[in-house]
Symmetry: C2
């Protein structure tokens, strides 16, 4: 960039941040989305309300065009609240428990069996079928607390939740319980998706809190015949009709080239989904709104996209990319915010080396706002499918320390959001959209 | 640094962070300090308990030497909880209110008068004595939300609280109320210190919540004869005996050269003081403990210092520096953590250009832990007096976005602390102590 551009850009970006912090709207939109609309698992009434609400917000802001995109989504329901307890002799100790998304129910009377604790799949296989058969497998490998980036710690533990039930079933287990995916020791149940491998028996699977996991582990060491009981009532209904929600500002030079910012609109069924990912949705709307109220005339069409079904299917992200391809919409870049509404620290960029270098060259424009980490890294699940069309993928990177305290849990509530942190994330996305739009990605 | 030192240092610093995150103790110490000891304003029973407790913690950790340092402190007490309401005709609207630290009480029956709202001292003076006389002056200039660093926004507004009562009294006001020092709009009363200039009348002064301030301002615009009533029961007792609490690891090369890490042990009387400044205290103990458990043999004597009376007098910091001077203890460097237990982003350094350059040259060792902001900036109030002895002053800089949501208020509670963020701050301080000790400051 020439010196004059730097000056122009730094002034405009300063206006973006000032406006976000002094006249921001995303905090109040998030309040409504989390406290009034509430939970919004794909296929639920809450998800349908969230579609209407976010459409209305963007219509109210007079975006050039606001529309829905049809998506067929999985429709899993939890049913009556789960029960779970540890059984040791005549003692029953209730524990916080949540069925994993996609799991089958237990028999109506629940399921009770001895427990075999393992830390990983190899340990499970080494035990052999004889020792596992007829038991409940208990995956209890904690997230590594020494990983600075908690997403890395999560990635190193979440195989237990996603594939654990099938691995356990292959060894003859009749059910599976998994330690909650958080570094905190507390009494919060965290759900999340799992998938049965085709051909393997579909056994019921649930997650229990970290404190309960520590207790069960201790009791098993003292008394290996300790049993576990749980009852859950979940089921998978036929796929349901739902929507991505899209709002756009038309490009002045090209209406068929796009830069999009998005988050996912669905949440787990018992969660307000404030950080996951109400934040990303309202920040995306706010990013586009900020550019609009500041009078920016984009070269390309800018979109805010609320993807449906990130949590248990990714059907929204796939449908969005399929539509882009079939309509020959060239997506230059897609930004996702799906790591919580915490203080923004940078962006992860997926693209060619030249594209990455170009974006990294804007670092000085972000540094005054604390965004020091602009470089290689993940984009986001929803925008992943666009990557096959040559779209540059960018993920907003907020501080990750608090994210897994609330992830997929009923404590992911609006009061955990700091207004300024949320607004700074929205402003960061607006600034990135502006630079991508002005300078392109080649 | 030679390449080999960099490698040695980066490995040792990695051990510091790993240990803090996997075997850290500061979170549980803070739980006890905030939830069991509780509030600890200078001169109170809570402050005395906090002195004993933190001494016991360091003794329990087998620091080489743990001792108390006598400090005489101001002893202000709030008395019975304040009452305050807006009076408009027959309507009375109760508002969240807190006497400012150091304020006199109202008359027993309270004080009621018309209100004159101003944004700054110039506006007050321009009104003239005639318009102010006999009224309650209402300082209502908000903290500037567009300042990225909320401490800068605070510094730009806090003159209203510190000097406002005297400025109002000079113009004939009979009392003073001040908008709470926070960017949030909420119903939380925030206290904080004020001082009467000698010679000026000592009028009662209190702070009301931001929502109440917005409401009162609106009502005054509609109906200038709107009145305000409040009653407070505070008083200043004779100075009390208290203590700084000090724990140390003896230096192997010099026992009379010191590097210290500290926070202030006192809090406001109705606050747990989790972020302000229980965090800084437990991080300082933890920083020294981490170096001890990792087997580090310091060149200089390392100390954790809990300063008493930062909130309303700074007597602990002054006594500490006076003692250092009289005992000819050469303090190479002092680190303070008094900006909350949030995610650490860097250190502010006060020293000679050469000293600053030396510390900045260690930046690459901190960058992997997200500490990107190592450079000029404040140290901390308690260590300020050491600056006159040529001590390099360093302030831990955590993210500032959430700090003033809780500052000097009853919502500054333990549940607002994230364990990992707190631990990362402690590890950052330990790493800085290690480098300062190993390489010195010249």
């Amino acid at each position: 960039m020439a010196q004059s551009d730097y000056k122009t850009d730094s002034i405009f970006i300063s206006k973006i941040f000032n406006t976000a912090l002094s006249e921001g709207k995303c905090y109040e939109v998030l309040r409504h989305l989390t406290q009034d609309v509430g939970s919004r698992l794909s296929g639920s009434a809450g998800a349908a309300k969230a579609v209407e609400y976010t459409r209305d917000v963007m219509t109210g802001e007079k975006f050039d065009n606001v529309f829905l995109q049809n998506v067929m989504v999985p429709h899993w329901v939890r049913g009556a609240k789960e029960q779970g307890y540890i059984v040791s002799g005549k003692q029953k100790i209730n524990v916080p428990i949540a069925a994993l998304g996609g799991s089958v129910s237990t028999p109506k009377e629940g399921i009770k069996a001895k427990v075999i604790e393992v830390k990983n799949f190899q340990e499970l296989r080494d035990l052999g079928v004889e020792k596992v058969k007829g038991k409940i497998v208990f995956f209890n490998r904690p997230m590594d607390p020494t990983r600075l980036n908690t997403f890395v710690a999560y990635a190193g533990a979440v195989d237990q939740r996603g594939a654990g039930p099938t691995e356990a079933a292959k060894m003859g287990a009749i059910a599976c319980i998994v330690r909650a995916m958080t570094t905190r020791l507390d009494d919060v149940a965290h759900t999340g998706s799992m998938r049965y491998a085709s051909g393997a028996p579909m056994i019921p699977a649930a997650s229990i809190s970290t404190n309960a996991s520590e207790l069960l582990s201790k009791m098993l060491k003292e008394k290996p015949e300790t049993e576990f009981y749980f009852k859950q009532n979940c089921e998978t209904l036929p796929d349901a009709k739902s929507h991505n929600v899209i709002g756009e500002l038309k490009g002045s030079k090209s209406e068929t080239q796009y830069i999009v910012a998005g988050g996912h609109l669905d949440s787990w069924d018992f969660a307000q989904g404030a950080h996951d990912d109400g934040s990303g949705c309202v920040q995306s709307i706010e990013a586009v709104r900020l550019l609009k109220v500041l009078g920016y005339k984009p070269n390309n069409t800018l979109r805010a996209v609320m993807y449906m079904n990130e949590e248990n299917g990714l059907k929204g992200g796939i449908a969005y990319a399929d539509s882009a391809k079939s309509k020959k919409e060239k997506h230059l870049a897609a930004i996702e915010s799906d790591r919580g509404g915490f203080i923004p620290l940078g962006f992860g960029v997926v693209g060619t080396p030249a594209q990455k270098a170009k974006i990294v060259s804007w670092s000085d424009l972000f540094a005054p706002y604390g965004l020091h980490e602009i470089g290689p890294g993940g984009g986001g699940a929803d925008i992943g499918p666009l990557g096959q069309q040559g779209t540059v993928l960018l993920g907003l990177i907020p501080d990750s320390q608090r994210y897994f305290d609330y992830h997929h849990a009923d404590n992911d509530t609006f009061d955990k959001i700091n207004k300024r942190e949320l607004e700074l994330g929205a402003a960061s996305m607006a600034a990135m959209m502006y630079l991508l739009d002005k300078y392109g990605v080649e």
